[in-house]
Amino acid sequence: MSNKPSPSNWPKWFDPRRREAGSWAFILNRLSALGLTFYLFLHLIVLGTLAQGEAAYDNFLETIHNPLFILGELVVIVGAVYHGLNGLRVGLTSFGIGVSVQKQLFYITLAITAVVAVFFAVRMFS
């Protein structure tokens, strides 16, 4: 019968329609976690070019020095800041601290993340 729980329903985690602020926080937390995990592997691959010598590494750095990769780095910074701050929020509320103001804590998390994003965007693109 329909509507039963199933592991195949996991894409529904990312459906924000008709959801409350807590779910948006949950969805962004999962997306940023997946993004950071992906970046970690990418980072290790990049560091692996060091094993091919200084020239290979410098060559690689030359390649990624373009706006697209800088935008990618900005996304990583924003994702890390959000994930870290929301982690504090989840950590506090998980033990009963600030449960009644969890929405406000989420909005503060978003506001700080936005300020950090603008700060780094200006620095990285100017």
Partner: protein
């Protein structure tokens, strides 16, 4: 004169193993009626094969939980004007995370069994369940008087929980709130049940349960409090005091 709206009621239909579909009904309604009234009107005058659950019509029995325009609602206390505009579409689905029995009826058996398993009490002394408003606080001489528990076991919180969507093993917000209401109190069996992959640690803090709860239970807060109880019990047991 009664203010009449025209709405389209779009109702989820599923019988047996047939694939689900929606039936639509054009209705004239008083916007101050409740969603359940509109569903009953369809059953009474349009389609007697429509199946839905209801009983008390005043949010005590918890039988009429459904998804109204994709949000979990107790339909007997959800005014039509709060969920649709004149001329709009009112979509009604059965709750998520429970097997559909027929149309809008789901099988809540797993919820009831688990509530029993954790020792949730449907009736308890006034002094044990904090009053929602200070003005409603009982007088000291009434603290032992009995009242119905806040949780009406409607299942809306489990339907709204994104974690419950993926794993049937997860006890779910109502059950964990029931365990918190019961209290661990040295109950090792209950401790093992809630301190598990399918217990308090499975919750990912989406807080949807509290958002949709129609009955002041605040399951999210209770889950967080149960976590503190679990940690306290584990520490006590580590030092040989549990």
């Amino acid at each position: 004169m009664i203010n009449e709206w025209k709405i389209t009621l779009k109702i989820y239909r599923q019988k047996g193993q047939e694939p689900p579909h929606y039936d639509t009904f054009e209705l004239e309604v008083n916007p101050d009626e409740y969603v359940l009234d509109a569903i009953e009107r369809v059953w009474a005058f349009r389609d007697r094969s429509l199946t839905f659950a209801h009983a008390c019509h005043h949010s005590t029995c918890g039988a009429c939980g459904m998804r109204v325009n994709d949000v979990e609602k107790l339909t007997c206390i959800t005014p039509i004007r709060s969920v649709v505009a004149n001329g709009g579409v009112l979509k009604v689905d059965p709750m998520r995370n429970f097997p559909v029995v027929s149309d809008l009826v789901v099988d809540l058996g797993s919820l009831y069994q688990r509530m029993d398993q954790v020792g949730h009490r449907s009736v308890l002394p006034l002094g044990e369940e904090p009053a929602p408003h200070p003005a409603a606080a009982p007088a000291p001489e009434d603290l032992q008087a009995l009242r119905l528990a806040d949780c009406i076991e409607c299942g809306l919180c489990i339907s709204a929980c994104p974690v419950a969507t993926t794993t049937p093993a997860y006890l779910g917000p109502a059950v964990l709130a029931g365990a918190q209401q019961h209290g661990l109190n040295g109950d090792l069996k209950l401790l093992e049940l809630v301190d598990s992959d399918s217990g308090v640690w499975r919750c990912h803090s989406a807080f949807e349960c509290t958002a949709v709860c129609p009955s002041n239970v605040d399951p999210a807060r209770r889950i967080m409090d149960l976590r503190r109880q679990v940690i306290g019990a584990r520490i006590a047991r580590f030092f040989g005091r549990g």
